[in-house]
């Protein structure tokens, strides 16, 4: 579905809301592009995100928050961007040289208006805002991009010590 290679996708998504960002070259980012937004795919990405995030130096609780936020963003994209099926969803995650961990999720549809019941779209976004250190949601006719960021603890980068809560 995506004409972009992973590098272009990565550059595009990471720079979108974050121009001038410098990715830490010592940790390979996670790049999942053009994924059909089906529940079975999303859980696989969640598990990959969890494995990846646990190598970033974030605390175990921050990893859990990141995984939950990333998944909620994916679920929003899958549920709300494509009323008639499972359109493509992109996710990239990276650590920056200034000790931040970024997760960006993008769809290429238009979010439907929220249902009368404040169901899980509203709840998912509320959770993302509560869990991430910084959140931006950018909506355009081309789709919606959710940008989430966590700050590493002061001694985080390069530390491989066991993470305890």
């Amino acid at each position: 579905m995506s004409a972009n290679g992973p590098n272009e996708l990565f550059t595009q998504l990471v720079q979108t809301l974050n121009s001038g960002v410098r990715v830490d070259p010592t940790l390979a980012p996670l790049i999942c592009g053009g994924l059909p937004g089906e529940p079975g795919n999303l859980v696989a990405v969640r598990h990959q995100l969890e494995s990846w995030a646990s190598t970033t130096g974030l605390s175990a609780s921050a990893v859990a928050d990141l995984v939950l936020s990333g998944y909620e963003a994916l679920a929003n994209a899958a549920e709300h961007a494509y009323p008639s099926g499972h359109g493509p969803v992109d996710l990239v995650a990276a650590r920056t040289i200034d000790s931040r961990v970024l997760v960006v999720v993008r769809d290429r549809g238009r979010w439907r208006p929220p249902p009368a019941d404040p169901g899980f779209r509203g709840r998912g976004l509320l959770m993302i805002h509560a869990l991430a250190h910084r959140v931006e949601v950018q909506q355009s006719p081309q789709g919606t991009t959710v940008y989430m960021e966590w700050a590493l603890p002061a001694a985080g980068v390069g530390s491989t010590t066991a993470q305890h809560e």
Partner: protein, 151 residues
């Protein structure tokens, strides 16, 4: 677990190449049993888009026998997404309509954090163990939650 795509790999990824196909049944196990006037539903695994509907069906089905009390034990749940919260909220509403008292066991950060940040912990009677939930006894540890509202 280390199949993170290498940054700089030249080939474009095929759609869906990040995904595997997990077995939904293995992702969440649900077990229900009767305990006197109570029904206990024990969930273990991950509650997400793939599994929340099945949990909701189980919970609603168990309510239809009109027990005096339903305990939903989430102690073995390692992931609770908003779809799981929605299923619990719906269950709470149906339980209230049917006059069934609902109690939730949540002990780990994985379940308590989503309940707390959405304000839902205040809507449920949250207990620290299945035994406490069955006995209607709130724990007194440092993490004990305030007593629930009475409906």
């Amino acid at each position: 677990m280390s199949d993170t795509p290498a940054y700089g790999s030249a080939a474009p990824r095929e759609p869906g190449s990040c995904a595997a196909d997990p077995a939904a049944d293995e992702l969440l196990r649900l077990e229900s049993y009767r305990c006197g006037e109570a029904v206990v539903v024990v969930a273990a695994g991950e509650i997400d888009m793939l599994t929340a509907a099945r949990m909701q069906e189980t919970l609603i089905a168990q309510l239809s026998s009109r027990p005096a009390l339903m305990v939903v034990d989430l102690e073995g749940v390692g992931f609770l997404g908003s779809m799981g919260l929605t299923a619990l909220a719906l269950t709470e509403r149906v339980a209230r309509e049917q006059g069934v008292e609902l109690r939730v066991v949540a002990t780990s950060r994985a379940t308590l954090r989503p309940l707390e940040i959405t304000g839902m912990a205040a809507d449920f009677a949250v207990y620290a163990s299945r035994a406490d939930a069955l006995a209607g006894r709130f724990g007194s540890g440092p993490d004990a939650l305030p007593a629930p509202r009475t409906h």
